[in-house]
């Protein structure tokens, strides 16, 4: 037991009471439209978030803004609650928002979109705001990035933050092929490498967190392989896009690819350990997303219980982050699902 985590655990536990109960989620699911969901959320702790934006936003936009704001607040709580040894891994995990935004900046520059177009696309977007607290880049950094004239100068600017060094390694290949997807894969690889690297065995109980990250990489790799089978492309073309830090190595992934078809690959996946695959939905709708969702649900269920049981460890802080992300996803799925009149069955399949 490490006493440095005592304060962190106490703070996380205190804020942990703020999460929506299962009954609240059921009530939200029973709502007819986003307005009813907004009314329901107004009676919870989301009231403070909603009050901040209610003058400008209404309905589904108000819900989104409140959810994003709450996520940022919770990420801040998690980052400050963690003691110094655990802060690195949380910072590395939250860098995923930076990665997403850098990808958008590179894509828009490649396509020749101007600052104005890209700015409105990125900065005033209703989704997770860029420069999210916990990420390394601030709003000012994104303004500088957007004002750069070409991809080379973007990569040069990013080299101040670590992301650029990884991108610089692929610069020659980009110049030869003109394909920016090389950068996208490089950023993903960099993100997971930093994440794995930041999980240090300080307490000795960081194993589950490492396993969780490995499984997240496995899930990503499996989906890349399944998509490649579906799109009918060769394994060699996706080899570089596979991240080799998961628990499933490259040869097993190649073996999975050589199954010949998605159904056979899914059958083979059952021998890959406890992935929690439920092929039923895929067989009905032929959508790989439902398969990914079943694996994700199983992962969240298993690891949330494990992290929650790790009282004085970075695991408890991580459980808090996962729960806040999960709650945002669930409420967002329900509200957008109701907004778009998606069947209740499909909404339920999305909300873990």
């Amino acid at each position: 037991m490490d006493p440095t985590y005592t304060g962190s655990y106490g703070r996380i536990k205190a804020y942990g009471t703020d999460f929506l109960s299962e009954d609240s989620i059921k009530r939200l699911l029973g709502a007819k439209n986003p307005d009813e969901i907004a009314t329901e959320l107004f009676s919870t702790f989301y009231r403070t978030d909603m009050e901040q934006f209610s003058a400008v936003y209404k309905g589904i936009d108000l819900i989104n803004m409140a959810l994003n704001h709450r996520l940022i607040v919770r990420n801040r709580i998690a980052l400050f609650a963690a003691p110094v040894p655990g802060r690195d891994v949380i910072r590395a995990y939250l860098a995923k928002w930076d990665i997403t935004n850098i990808k958008s900046v590179i894509s828009s520059k490649y396509l020749g979109y101007g600052v104005k177009e890209t700015e409105s696309f990125l900065l005033s977007f209703r989704d997770v705001p860029i420069g999210i607290f916990g990420g390394n880049l601030t709003k000012d950094d994104y303004n500088v990035l957007l004002s750069q004239s070409n991809i080379d100068s973007i990569v040069n600017y990013l080299s101040n933050f670590g992301y650029g060094q990884q991108l610089l390694l692929n610069m020659d290949r980009y110049r030869k092929t003109g394909d920016v997807s090389i950068f996208m894969s490089a950023l993903d690889t960099y993100y997971y490498a930093k994440l794995i690297e930041s999980v240090k065995f300080y307490n000795g109980d960081e194993g589950p967190l490492r396993r969780y990250i490995s499984e997240e990489i496995d899930l990503r790799n499996i989906m890349v392989v399944l998509k490649a089978i579906d799109l009918g492309i060769e394994f060699e073309r996706i080899r570089e896009g596979l991240i080799q830090m998961g628990s499933i190595d490259l040869s097993r992934l190649q073996d999975l690819f050589s199954s010949g078809g998605i159904e056979k690959a899914i059958e083979k996946l059952s021998s890959f350990g406890n992935l929690g695959i439920d092929p039923k939905n895929y067989q009905e709708n032929r959508r790989l997303e439902s398969l990914e969702n079943s694996i994700k649900t199983s992962m969240y269920r298993r690891y949330l219980d494990i992290f929650n049981s790790q009282a004085l460890s970075v695991g408890s802080t991580f459980a808090f982050i996962l729960r806040s992300e999960l709650e945002r996803e669930r409420v967002r799925s329900i509200s957008l699902g109701k907004y778009y009149s998606i069947t209740e069955e499909n909404i339920k399949a999305l909300i873990f």
Binding site: S104, S107, F121, D230, L231, R287, L336, G337, I342
Partner: protein
Amino acid sequence: MPQMDIKPTRIELIRTNRRIKLAKRGLDLLKMKRSSLVMEFFAISRSVKGLRENLRSDMGEAIETVRMAEIVSGTMELERIAYMSADSTVAVNMKNVMGVRIPELSRNYSQTILSNQYRAVSVPTAINDAIKMFEKVYVQLVEIAEKENSMRKLLHEIDKTKRRSNAIENLLIPQLTASAKMIRMRLDEIERDMFTTLKMIKRKMERKEETVQ
């Protein structure tokens, strides 16, 4: 054809009979063409009906898939990837069906960044599912547009063929038959006239011979 213009000659009768024969052969050919066009029209309309039914359900499914993708991956991600898709072009070529030039569309879906490799590696699964569904719908839409255009052209040609065959069957052939009948009647009359004249001449010649004896 005004009957006054008809020359009641034997050569004209032969010519008219030839024209009747030709018109009947043409009528048979037009009827055959019309039947083939109608058969082609119904074959296309059956496939269009099937495609339209599929399109309706596939479009609904595609819209639901893109909404699910928006929920799962977020609007920002969806728009980022949507920005990457390039314009596609549709080229129009022509093919010949029973003399009717109907359009044949060929698609060229240019993929700049959004290549299959990129989709497999960097596009979220939910968005990839949505892309797949909309690609399917796009192919169906082009196919339906091609077939419906062909149907329109075929219908126009069927109508034209029908008018032509009706004109031959109900106007040209009866007129030619009437002309032939009239020429035959006139020729018969001329023959009868000639016969009577010859008879009279013969009788007169006989009478003249009798008086001389």
